[in-house]
Symmetry: C2
Subunit: 480 residues, 2 copies
């Protein structure tokens, strides 16, 4: 059942109340850590939500140290956002109450709403219509809620150790994928601007959230997990807006196989069942395709911090012949090219390299690397490779990570990144011998330097492909 009311600009601004409310009521808040609803307040308090929190639960006077209220009407103010986690039987009534009270946005975590008549679709459309007329928008039902780090908004039952503020927005139709994203971001020490799980989309859809983040100052890249776009033309408008606003849109679309379509598409109103149609549309709209969950995290990392390359030619530097060959294979598989270096570059490299080393692309610097030498190599060979006119970007693979000069090397990389930026060339560092578990401080500093550190060749090269692809789309522009 498709709800065809178009969002007006007045309604769109209502999403500010979803992401940046100055007060949140948690209807159905629980104190029980063995229930999902018991995780909401601890998460909010841990993240440091800057507004006022009102737990609502008639059975308790206090939850997580906060005064608990019996009902919406007993609150000292009308909350801007209502987070609803009560059983389905009461949701319709609570939504009506919220609308009447003047609540500006609601999130329905509850998986299913029980309607009163034999025509639930009609009831739902009426409810959404009433909400919109009164200036309230709805996220969900059957969703995991909303996160917006700048205001400390944590309107979800998910919890994770320490969410970081950043410039990537995540929109997901699957809560499970949303939870994956949060954990991986944190493990990599990378921050998000906002995060939303759209659930069954009775009102707000993926396209609404894309539009919102396209206009959001905190957001530079939008990453989306998509089962089906509910309203095709609206999705296309949102993607166009993101492109106009120069916010790269990365999408992982499921439903490639017939079985996956049957699994995912219980929704109606999808713009097309066929995966191929989506893929064609993605190309036309300058959307970068993620092919798996890993890419949903990794590609935005490069797009948010790197300049766009002028073309698809990749310079490769590695400290291992095997790694150099692996990079070369994967660059070829991704349809990128590996140019021969300019004569001038080879001459300049020859001054730096030992006599037997070959000044080729990929450049294997094995012979040069001891634990002490990596900083010098970054400072000497890095700029030479970056200045080669045939290279549009540089992949720099370090597999013998020099533990005694960890941070010196990272700072040198930071300086090299500045040179690369001035030349308008992406610098993609790959450190295969570090792990998030042992090197969190290093990844954290890399994030401060806005360096997208990659931990495997395959994810680095996929990101190089994403940069080249998006850059090409920007140069060509969209059909008007």
């Amino acid at each position: 059942m498709r709800i065809s009311l178009a969002a007006t600009s007045k309604q769109l601004s209502a999403l500010d109340f979803l992401f940046k409310p100055d007060s949140i009521a948690v209807i159905g808040a629980s104190h029980d850590p063995e229930k999902f609803s018991g995780w909401i307040l601890p998460g909010m308090l841990q993240v440091g939500y800057k507004g006022r929190i009102y737990p609502i639960n008639p059975k308790r006077s206090e939850i997580s140290g906060l005064k608990c209220y019996a009902s919406l009407s007993s609150l000292p103010e009308v909350p801007k956002l209502a987070l609803i986690t009560i059983p389905g039987a009461g949701v319709k009534q609570i939504l009506s109450d919220c609308i009447k009270a003047g609540v500006k946005a609601s999130i329905i975590i509850t998986s299913e709403i029980q309607y009163e008549t034999s025509d639930p679709n009609k009831e739902r459309i009426e409810l959404v219509g009433e909400a919109r007329r009164n200036g309230m928008r709805i996220c969900g039902p059957n969703c995991e809620g909303v996160i917006y780090l700048k205001t400390g908004t944590w309107a979800t039952f998910l919890s994770h150790p320490s969410p970081l503020q950043g410039e990537i927005a995540f929109v997901t139709q699957s809560g499970g994928v949303g939870e994956f994203v949060l954990h991986k971001l944190w493990e990599r020490q990378v921050g998000a601007s906002g995060w939303v799980s759209s659930g069954n989309e009775m009102d707000l859809q993926v396209a609404d959230y894309i539009e919102y983040f396209a206009k959001d100052d905190e957001t530079k890249v939008i990453s989306v997990f998509l089962e089906a776009a509910r309203d095709g033309p609206k999705f296309i408008r949102a993607a166009r807006l993101a492109f106009e606003e120069q916010k790269p849109l990365v999408i992982l679309k499921v439903g490639r196989s017939e079985r996956a379509r049957r699994t995912a598409l219980t929704h109606t109103g999808a713009i097309a069942g066929r995966f191929g149609v989506y893929m064609g549309l993605f190309r036309q709209l300058g959307i970068v395709r993620a092919r798996n969950l890993q890419e949903l995290i990794e590609l935005p990392l490069a797009l948010v911090w790197e300049p766009l390359p002028a073309g698809n030619r990749v310079g490769i530097v590695a400290d291992s012949g095997g790694m150099a060959a692996l990079f070369a294979d994967q660059v070829s598989q991704e349809g990128l090219s590996i140019p021969d270096l300019e004569e001038q570059t080879r001459a300049r490299l020859a001054e730096v390299l030992p006599s037997k080393a070959k000044a080729t692309n990929p450049l294997d610097i094995t012979a040069l690397v001891g634990p002490k030498e990596i900083v010098g190599i970054l400072e000497s060979i890095g700029p030479i490779m970056l200045n080669d006119k045939t290279c549009d970007m540089l992949i720099l693979g370090v597999s013998y990570w020099p533990r005694t000069v960890f941070f010196e090397a990272l700072e040198a990389l930071g300086r090299l990144y500045k040179i690369a930026n001035e030349l308008g060339k992406p610098l993609i560092p790959v450190f295969t011998a570090i792990t998030p578990k042992t090197h969190s401080d290093l990844l954290s500093r890399a994030a401060e330097l806005k360096l997208p550190i990659y931990l495997t060749p395959e994810t680095a090269v996929a990101s190089a492909r994403a940069l080249a692809e998006y850059s090409e789309a920007r140069r060509e522009g969209l059909d008007s």
Copy 2:
């Protein structure tokens, strides 16, 4: 230059002295932590090598608390293994000394040996011949050495926090890839039996190490990073031996692209330059192909701990509709099939599932899962799905990981794994909301239970594919 002397059984047993020596001399040992050679002794001591260690360095009387010797001849015994890290100019002489002294195996870390005449190839062949006649085999040069956990053998300059003993052997022609493997294994809390970096292979080749591990009681799966097989027929014999010994062989081969071939194949004597020839050979030899570094770690994990499936039909259970669709897509892409469940299975599921949930494959159990319920689900739904005759294996995806019942759920999974084992069906658990950084203890316990826990759908499904592929090869057998 190809050295064509065939290994005799006497020579093969010499590899025991490489992996399990009861004494090691470190020729060129250093006390300087800013040199690679300064990492060797600390690593050996950390891992707890059970034999006698003799640092040799005429400039020092003590290194890392160990008595240091001036030369090979001043040692109290002839060491079984000599680890050589001196500059290239002295290597040939030291090798001769080792041969004459009766050293049983040598590892040359040094990247290049300086020979004395204008025909270094001839000198090298003579040296290798002399070594073999005297019962000494050589690993390297330009390698990172050898690890064998049961005896605590740590004859390498690499170091990592805490290597674990296990059942996967790694053979790599690239030291950089070897270092990647060590770090990732440790991060995942998975153990190795042995590890060897073969370097420039003046004597021992990848094929020799495959043969050795095929016969090694500690090893169940052999994982290989291959640039080029130096001696084709020998490589084929080694792969056949591994198959006969029922040790799955997983290989990541580089050189798919022309550029990668030029980068990697400075070696001579490769059996074929063409990637396609290798791929055909791999299929004929029952070799499982890894397509990237991640798979070089992940596929062996399943092959070492899972029974082989009877076919390629996959049952899927997930706690998120989006994840279920993602699994379905990836299973289709890997060429595996997703059967419709038996009527009997659907009936049994209907007794357990809430009325609105659909008993289909993939099975989305979202409606059932609260933090407390996962253990019950594993115990009720798990066996029903495993007993379905149309499912040859079961992928079990958990994205809302129940932090309050972490270990209970893992123990339940351990019990389910036993049921699966009795049925001869692989059980592949995927936990997308855990990270190695926060859940090391969980991964560690999973390793004790021999459960290959996967952290992304794509790696889990690739492993399911590897199991199906290897199982098919075993059923069909190799041409004789």
